[in-house]
Subunit: 133 residues, 6 copies
């Protein structure tokens, strides 16, 4: 169930084809997942979104690739994005996440949810030592 | 500003003192931050919360300590817990988070927020390959 | 999948029938969408909810009808209500939202998500000029 | 810090005065808290909001008054509304919430946060027995 | 659609079997719902989660069982956990929630959502009387 | 209170100075608000964020400037970003938002919050006519 009809032949648009070609080359697979197929309804939005994903997630950086996926899954869970939870869990497994690490991620996300909401409920005042302003 | 008055002399309660002693020993510091001081209003809740934090965050596991803090900060940002963002950012820095890694964390959380909400807006259908059920 | 069985013959209840009649007259269509069919399980809740929707969304006001729908879609995305994203996207299209405007809405919601979470992560202090208190 | 300057003499407006008088009579106190003072910037919004609060929260119903406040606090915590957490915690205490009940509320909200986010992360499929559709 | 394949024969693991046996004994039913079947992928996480659910929700306490379920449903709605909304609505009905109470819960959650977001939008300053710090 | 110390003399960095110069030229004001001052701790993140804000919010497009700000405020309220609610409310007023429009925005956001959470609570099934997939 979707709010938007994805284009039937997206690569007939040359800007879409260029992005899809780059996704295939970067990820070394022919598979183009649905997020990109739907974003093809607006080539500028597709280009900007892929450029940011590539720059932030697919290039060597100060955090290793699996750590980056664990952060992404965490964000997706809490933002309540079902599609994103699925796709980034699959990516994390492809990047080496073990069952034990998956279980540990659940434990941390659950613990954070719990202590975060208790701290919010109590409106815990900030310790001056934590303020960097 | 808080919804609850923290006990003035929390360690006069022996159950609270035992938890505070364990926090000091585990973290090798005399500093007890405000979350624990406020939770002292209910010793069983304090004990259960600290036991879980210690088990999940402070013991050797399949994820390294800094990765665990980055996941915790991510959860705290999105859950909107100001206190938690401050305290776990401080902890992550103590565990070695560099300014470049902090900036990269911002980039990933921001990217996830953006693509999560676009995926939610478009109600992107799940690719069968992502379904493990 | 629903948590509540909608009444099979809702209009046998005169209060429900009166609301459904007013929905049909206001929207000039025979179609009653599922939200109203489910709310029929409690006529006072149905009446109060429709009265507010009619007053806020269906009457001439200082914002034009399409702008109001764009605000509603935005809220629905972030509140994580799948049903609402679908129904208000359909309404916005009926009120003239073009594909380009839909794409632009995605770009703004995505940008806001990103900058909102970065501002929360950094706990940016309020500029005095923004304080109207 | 607020986004809107509350009117300096709100009761010079007769519609505002009527609402404030009703708040004082319903709650049997002269105290008008800041939410109402700020809403006075738009009398129709003030009237509609107070009417709903009075109908839902201040009239005899199938749930007892303290239970209703506990539900309200829960919602306020998770919606991330600091003002609301404070004001409804104060109201709940005025309606008899004990420290032990406050602690228990924290435990339930924390547990729900944790299991909710784990269920979302695992995308647990719905058991058919829970579907009432 | 799920991100994780639940074990096919979970009770072949003795730690999982012990938890499932305790769930059956505590709830006096043979039915083990999907959340527990999926958590069986990691026995320590299953044990810790069930221990907390049992302690917080299934034991006599200062709040009555139905009130606890109403708080849990409220949290689940706002956390956007579809599975949890379904399972806890079913539990609340089993514990005696009437249709009128269900409708009233909707009214309170809806009212809180509305006033919470208006208070957040106006950034209503805290009345000193609500501050217990 | 902030999690990060903003650079004391940000424009001594030439990349930061170039962005700040462009902000001043685009907005025709000397005022650089705190979000940008804090992002100066990482010039690439500052550049990428400003480039996206400028492209999405400051250039002529299919939505008028005030409508875009109203969407941004809506997102900021629900994402619970206090800084963003303040800064975008100020921007919207600068772009012509009247008090009546501000009040109407409150009414729509409040109504959406309420109906969104009720629809989530009831898990309203999608009407087939709303599915564009």
């Amino acid at each position: 169930m979707t709010t938007l009809k994805a284009p039937i032949d997206p690569e007939s648009n040359s800007r879409v084809k260029a992005v899809f070609d780059d996704i295939r080359a970067t990820r070394q697979t022919d598979f183009i997942n649905n997020l990109w197929r739907q974003l093809a309804f607006d080539p500028p939005l597709l280009e900007a979104t892929w450029a940011e994903v590539k720059r932030v997630m697919a290039q060597p950086s100060t955090l290793d690739p699996l750590t980056k996926e664990l952060i992404y899954i965490t964000a997706s869970i809490i933002n309540g994005c079902s599609y994103c939870v699925h796709s980034h869990t699959a990516t994390a497994k492809a990047k080496g996440m073990t069952d034990a690490q998956h279980a540990e991620l659940m434990a941390i996300v659950g613990l954070a949810a719990k202590t975060n909401q208790i701290a919010t409920a109590l409106q815990v005042p900030l310790d001056p030592v934590f303020d960097k302003g």
